[in-house]
Each structure stands twice: as structure tokens, then as C-alpha cells.
Symmetry: C3
Subunit: 385 residues, 3 copies
């Protein structure tokens, strides 16, 4: 037996730990520790937090917020962003159904949160102006009903598996089974998400990984590096700064967000790779994923004042973040057969020196090299509404 | 003294038990047990559950969900249904005010839940298309502020009394005082609900008992037996299967629900009786109630795939589940004088052998016998919108 | 060291006390006691309550409800009102985003609650009829993320400081830092609120203190006394009873609320003062505040039946409680520079004998004396919509 596991939540079996701490003696993985606790007070009251320390990187996962990743710490480097919303926010304080469709913003402060599963993107309204699909959907504000931690001594690997259902009677019934993995000393983590259509009829889904990086990594002159196959600005405002899309501007109070839409070029293994590095190239965070699973990629430049959330989004997705009806018309709402499961993988890597950043840049440029890039100077009618 | 009582919740007196278990030594009722606990994890986080075992039948009540009845168990027979929503769901996860009016569906998984009290039925919208009354109202997502258990040794009876207020300042102020009763070894329970208008002005109410029965009782060929005085299909789709209304079809993915509206014939004591029995007639569940209190009855046939919630609804009511404004126009929104209390009783019986099922069928047929039944082949304009 | 302090909540430092009681030995203030606890059951489930007894007056503050003041007790006199909503209500049960804009009413039962900060007043809708700003805003349903109690032995003063953020990513980012103060034996308390614009861009705010007084202080013939500079009825209905605005009528089932809008005259120190006294002039409650900080004042007469909430509102404010767009057009939405802090002070006094009431009346009449009062007999187009 090289594996040990702990069930922290399992509503079917009436399991829910109040608080549990696992040390090296429990995990049998060098330098590691796991802490499960329920947060109290303010907007976080009632949020379950799962902190996993792999000996180098400490990461906090949020079972109560759809298995999102709150923040990570490498020594004194906090990886994530400083949202003006002081999270993590319990879903009971997030008015998803606010008629404006923007209530989701009240809970938005994670390093990584999923947008979906029934919908994501800008709010959608019917002809009478009534909200039909709220901004970015429900999954980030739904709690896991199953959560377990598995430690594999031989592999030196810690796995966290959470199950979150997004079901509405008479409507969609989707299940997210998320596995988050890290190895002893790994500067990063991997995510394997499976989305299952629990229904006896066909299902539909959208999915976007909202990965948000702020200070100190993000700074004026920080650069986004990705092997672009096709790119278009989302709107006229983004088009204005098209030439500078790769470079992050300094914080500017009142800056209006700029969004760029992509298809990326994969390497030989079918995986593509996108990097955000600081101005000096001494630190970076990158994400890689199979383009067959996540065919689109979005860069979100929100260069507002620091206190308003100076942040860069790197967003692998199966659709663009437009109103759902727009995506449906353009064939980017995914259909699932009854019982069908789709799989999405991504790898999150932290580069804490110039060598690591350079190695990643080189790998990305290599993907790009043989490639003809198509850059649209204006928004594409099929890509943004 | 043959009665003992325990106050589990009383917010006015700052009483709230965390968890309490009563055994035979406490209740002094043979074979009985009572467990009060707070559920943790997933969508059920924070829901108070009250389990009452009368020695034969074990039932879980939900004070946090308007005193609904979650499920019951007779030996290994689970009585209730398998909703795709894994409940019980805490109201904080049920977006009643979702502009679509359908947020109520996110919490729907009980054997018995009340729809009301200010409104129930399909969502209602104003002329601009803005939601005025959400699907099925608020009461099933409001918590009891008073809960007590009373055991009567002499009668061998366990009573659970819960008080739930549905008040909006400037608007309706209604109080539900619900008493749930069972006797030692009884295969069923009784409910006595009192709804009081707490206001100094007149009040209004709607009420429908959504009793939901699924597998294993429900199966292809299961039959609904009721003494019909008047019956009409809700819509053209229900009209198509009018001849087969009594028989439950097999699960069919994507089946569109069929709803039938009734007035039932009472027996000499003024009570009517409706039964759902399995195909072989070896098991059944029936509900009986005074037609003077609950003049309407609805059968809801939702023969979808098992995993989408294959379920039959038997629904005694004071109104039909149409948008509230429609019911108001047709005089089915009940008026209450200041301080007036209305009483609603129903008896829930489980029949676990062919003899019991047959006896119930015969009793129902006897009610029907002298009767001229009026069957409408098409929807009635006064009954459905 | 004459000061001692206790941090009860500080989410940043992961502090949240479950329950704590401080006695005279802790506070070192004669006759005083402080109790912090979390309420359970009903609509109050999860609300943190902070009770401060200064030896004479016992007051309950609600950190979970934007630092509102629930009720106060002087011996057996309960100061507050009997709302038909049995509070305090946890925000998770208050559907602020209800498309009607009226969900706020489900949580309304405090002696003092703040309406704001982004908006207050009647719900506002866009041209399509979709809710843009709900009734009375969000602050009363947002929890403090910092709460501390400070006792100053030398001054004999107990201070409670709470911090509540009202932020929406991409939109307003406002912070309320509220300090509530009382002295040993003081028949009242003071509030010093600071509202800070946390954003790097300009901010906007509205603010109204909804101070609500009911029985036993309120009774037929109870009088409102204030130094009126300008006054107008809110609508035609209020205009009908203009002559009687100072006198409170007996409870009348179905009474439609009457609202009067004011500018008050300050005394030499820039502070104005408004009093509600009972019919016999033996008891009163008054509030005083600088008109430079809170230029408007509203009297709300809700003379409904006792069980529907017979209550008088005394409401110092920076704007009138109209839909926000109306207030904006009339220049009463306050602008804040990036980082700017505005300060609002008010003093709440209880008068428990005829001498105290008379002294207060005289002080108010003295403010009024040199003054030309402008009374509008009809609603002013600039003041109410």
C-alpha cells in the first residue's frame, strides 16, 4: 500500500470534518502538510479551506467555491491577485441572480476559478431585458459534496478530489469531478477536471478557466507569451492597443479592461503553453493544456489601479466569454450525450528564476516558429458580440 | 403526566440544540427514537434534520426547509424520490429571486414540500416581463423559529410542532404552525397545518402540498387511483394522454411533464383519498384529506429518465399551480381576515402488502361509485392559463 | 495603560471568537459587561450579536448586519420597534436582488440600520423595467470583517469598532469604519462612521440612518420635535396630513406610510437635534448630528396596526430616499475622490423622565426660534420623484 486517503466531505455518508491537519507522519510525503478548516467571519464565514503544502509550494483550495484555487505561496511570493473583494467569499454572499447579471463579481478573488458549467461570459438577457444567464455561471459558487485527499508515498504525490454538482431540476444536470495534483517540492500543480452529463438527455456546457495573476508578478512591462495561431481583439477598445497586447501597461485608475481572443498553436504533444513573466524575466507563471480539450484562450488585461484589482487573466476555455446565446449561435456551446464525460487538463507552473522563465519562453517560441499567425486588427463577428 | 416535550429551537428564548438524540427511555414510546442534528457539507450545509423513528417507520423532517418531509424509510423501502438535486438543500443555496423565477427548482427534492404561502405555481411576471411571484413561493425555503417534540406515552404518539413565518414588511405576514404526528408502529403520519394571518389587515394565501413519489414504488404500470368528480388536463400536451392519466408510463428521456387538475369526491366524512400503487398492486402510498379544506388536487406525471427525476406528484391544494394573477382572477387566492387561522389536515399512509393496497382501492372506488364524473378532454380556461 | 482591547473578528488574521463574555474585571468599567455570541435557529441563524451593557443601558449591535443596532434596553423599557419580521435576520435570508427590488424588507427590524452605501431609497429600474438599485442598498446586509472592543478605564468608555466593505469588482469600493461609543451609565450612545473610497477612481455614495422607534415609546399623540428650516411632504398622501406631521396618529390597519422631507436648523455648534417623545412627555429618544455632515432629515410615519410594525422613523441622511437616478439628477449622490474619507457622527440619547424630555424640547425650540421656516404644502419636484 503506497496510497493513503482521507475523506473530508461526503454528504451521502454524512462525513464532514470540522478541521483536520495532516503532517508528514500522516502523508508520508517529505515536507508536506495538509490543513482543512472552516473559515469564520466576514464574507468568508462558512467557507471550507484546504491548504496543501508540498514542501515548497503552499496552495489553498476552496471546496465551497467549486474547487477553485484561492492563492498559492512560494516562500514569500504570493501568487494570485489582490482583488478589491476580500475573499474567499461564501456563495451565500454572492447574489448570482441579481437582475443585472453581475452579482458574480461580489465573490471574485481567486487565482483560479472556473466559469461555467451551464454558461459563462457576459450576462445574457431575453428580448424583454430579463436576465437569462448571469455573468460567468454558477460553478464557482457551488460547494463540493465530496472531497478527499490521497497521498501516494511512492509517487510523492498529493491528490485532492472534489465533486461539485451543477443541477437544476428540469434543466441541466452537470457534475464536475475535479482532481488537483501536486508532487513533493513541485513548483506548480495539475488539474484534471471531468464534467459528466448526469442526465438521460443531451446536455450542454461552457467552460473557462479564469486564471488571475496580479502583483508582485504583474508589473509594467510584464509580458504575455503564447504561441498564437489566430488572434482578435474583443472590441474596438482592445483593438486600439493591439500592437501592445503582449506587454502589460502600468496601473491606470479607471483603465477599461482589454480582452484578446486566441487560438493557440500546440506543440508536438498537442499541448500549448502560455506564460506571464515579469518585466525583468526573473519570475513567471505559465499554464499548459491540450488544445483539443481547450481550443480557445483569452487574455484579460485589467490594468486598473492596484487597489481596484490590477490583474492579468490567462484563460483557457472551450468557448469565448460572450453571452451564451451568442456562443450557441456560433457553435461554441458544447453538447454532451447522456452520461458523457469530457475531460480537461491543465498544468500550472511557477518559474522562480531567469533560467526557468527563459526555458519556458523558448519552448513557447518553438511552438510558434513553423506557424503562420493570423492577427485580426478588428473584432471578428464570429468571436465577439 | 403522560406527555413529555423537548424544545429544540426557540429563537425568542435563545434555544437551539446542536444535536440531541432521544431513545425509548426518553420518549417512553416503544421502539421509538428521535434524532436532531445539523447537516454539514455540500448544499445541505446548515440544514437541521429531525429524524423520527416510530419503531416501524423512520421519517426525516426539515425544519430549515419550512417543515418539509425529506424522506421516509420502511425497512429497506425508501419512500420519496431521487431528485437530480442532491438535497436536502439549505435555502442559502436556493436563489428564489432568480429573475427567471425558477430558482426554487435548485432545492427541490423532498417527499413532501409545501408550495406557498403568499403564492405558488408557475412564475408570474408583470407586463414589462419582470418577475412578480417566483415558482412555488417561499415557504419551503424558510426556517422554523420554533420546533418542539412532544411524546405522549398513553397515546403512543410523537408530535413535532414547527413554526415558520413568511413575512415581508409592508406586505403579507403569514405564519405556518405545522404539527406532524405519528403513532408507535404507524405506517404513515398525519399533518395538521394552521396558517395564521398575523397582520392587522386582510391577508391572502395559496397552498399546495407537493407530495412526490418515485422509484421503487413508481414504475411503468403504476397506477393513480382517486375518486374523480371533475378532471381536466392542464394543457394540450396533457390532453394527448388523457385516457392514460391513471397509468404511469416507463421512464423516457426528455419526457415533457403532464399535469392533470381535479376536484375529488369525498366519502361520508368529507375526506377524499388518493393512492399511488405499484404495477403489481403490492405496495402503495396514499394521502387523504378533507375536500372542504383542500378542494383541488393535482397529478403531476414526470416520466423522465430515472436520473432526471422519474416522479409522480399527488398534490392536494387550495388553488391550481398557475401564475398567481391567473388564480386571483379565478377566485382561488384565499382571503384571510386579520388574525384569522385556516386549518389543513392530511394523512399520509403507506401500504406494504396487496391486502392494504386493495383495501384502499376499494375505499376509493366506493367514494367514486354514486358519482357522475366530469372529464374535460381539453384544458379548461378557468383552470389553467 | 488605561485602554484594553479585544479583537473579536479579524478575517485577515484568521480571528473569530465563537463566544466571549467580558465582565467588570475585564473591562475595568463599573457595572459594564460585553457579550459576543453567534445566534442560532430561524432567520437569525449565524448572526453575530454583540451586547454591550454600560451599567444602565444594554445595547445589541449586529456585526453581521453592517454594524446595525438591533435594540437597546433601559431597565424594562425596550427601545426599538416590533417589526413583523422576527429578526435579527441573517443576510443569507434577505434576497436583496429580488427583481421587485423589495427583498431588503425581509431583514428589516433594527432600531438603527444604515441604508447605503452605493445607493438607498426606493428601488430603481432601467427603461426596460429591470432592477438597477434595490431598496435601501446593501450595507445593512454585509458582515463586518473586523470587529474590536476597546475599554478605556479612565474615560469610562466602551468603544466598538467594526469594518464593513461594500465592494463590487469593476464597480464601487466603499469601506465603512464604524465606531460605536458609550460611557458607563450613559443613557445613549454615539456613532462615528467613516466611509472611505478604496478605489483609485472617484466614488459615489448615498447614506441614510434609518432610526426606528415603536411601542411603548410610540403611541397616539407622541410628538416629533425638530428645528425645521425647510419641509415638504414626499407625496400627495403625506401632504394631506401636513398640519399633523408632528403628531403621531393611533395605529390604523392598512395605514399607508407618510413621509416628510426636511432640512433642519442647527444650533451654534452646527449640530441639529430631533426628538420623539411620548404623549405625556415623560419619555423620549432624540438624535443629534452636524448638518454639515448630514444635511437632510426624513420623518417616516408608519401608523399601521401594531402587529404590522407601528413605527416612526427619524432619518438623518445625505440624500432623500428616492430612486438613485433621481437623486443623481438632483445632485444628492455624494462624490468621493480616490482614497477620500467622509465622516458622519450622530448621538443617540434616551430621556427617561419629563425633565429630560423638556430640556431637550427647549434646546430644539431654541434652535428654531430665530428661524424662518419654509413649509411646502405640496411635494417639491426637486425633493421627491
Amino acid at each position: 500500500m503506497t496510497k493513503k486517503s482521507w475523506t473530508l466531505i461526503d454528504t451521502d455518508r454524512k462525513v464532514h470534518h470540522d478541521a483536520i491537519s495532516l503532517g508528514v507522519n500522516d502523508t508520508e510525503i517529505s515536507g508536506s502538510a495538509v490543513h482543512f478548516r472552516r473559515l469564520r467571519g466576514g464574507l468568508r464565514d462558512g467557507v471550507d479551506s484546504l491548504e496543501v503544502d508540498n514542501g515548497k509550494l503552499r496552495t489553498v483550495l476552496l471546496p465551497t467555491r467549486g474547487m477553485g484555487v484561492w492563492k498559492a505561496w512560494l516562500d514569500d511570493w504570493e501568487i494570485g491577485w489582490k482583488s478589491p473583494v476580500r475573499g474567499p467569499v461564501h456563495p451565500k454572499f454572492v447574489p448570482i441572480g441579481d437582475p443585472t447579471g453581475l452579482g458574480w463579481l461580489d465573490g471574485f478573488d481567486e487565482l483560479l476559478c472556473r466559469c461555467g458549467l451551464s454558461s459563462n461570459g457576459a450576462p445574457d438577457f431575453n428580448q424583454q431585458g430579463r436576465l437569462t444567464w448571469p455573468l460567468h455561471g454558477r460553478i464557482a459558487n457551488l460547494p463540493a459534496h465530496m472531497l478527499e485527499v490521497e497521498c501516494d508515498r511512492e509517487e510523492g504525490q498529493i491528490a485532492v478530489r472534489g465533486v461539485v454538482d451543477e443541477c437544476r431540476f428540469h434543466f441541466l444536470k452537470l457534475r464536475l469531478t475535479s482532481t488537483w495534483l501536486t508532487r513533493a517540492g513541485e513548483l506548480g500543480f495539475r488539474i484534471i477536471d471531468e464534467v459528466t452529463n448526469l442526465s438521460g438527455t443531451h446536455g450542454e456546457m461552457e467552460l473557462l478557466y479564469h486564471i488571475n495573476l496580479g502583483e508582485p508578478l504583474l508589473e509594467p512591462g510584464a509580458r504575455i507569451i503564447a504561441p498564437v495561431r489566430t488572434m482578435a481583439p474583443r472590441d474596438a477598445h482592445a483593438a486600439e492597443s493591439l500592437e501592445q497586447w503582449e506587454t502589460f501597461p502600468p496601473p491606470k485608475p479607471g483603465f477599461a479592461e482589454q480582452v484578446y481572443l486566441f487560438q493557440l498553436q500546440p506543440g508536438e504533444d498537442g499541448r500549448t503553453h502560455a506564460l506571464l513573466r515579469n518585466a525583468g524575466g526573473t519570475r513567471g507563471v505559465s499554464v499548459s493544456f491540450p488544445v483539443a480539450q481547450l481550443p480557445y484562450f483569452i487574455v484579460w488585461k485589467n490594468a486598473v489601479a492596484s487597489q481596484d484589482g490590477y490583474v492579468c487573466g490567462l484563460e483557457p476555455a472551450i468557448n469565448f466569454p460572450n453571452p451564451r446565446s451568442f456562443e450557441e449561435r456560433h457553435g461554441r456551446v458544447r453538447k454532451l450525450l447522456p452520461g458523457e464525460t469530457l475531460r480537461f487538463e491543465l498544468q500550472f507552473e511557477i518559474h522562480d528564476d531567469a533560467a526557468g522563465v527563459e526555458r519556458t519562453e523558448r519552448a513557447i517560441y518553438k511552438m510558434q516558429q513553423p506557424l503562420t499567425t493570423t492577427l485580426y486588427r478588428k473584432p471578428r463577428a464570429e468571436w465577439s458580440s
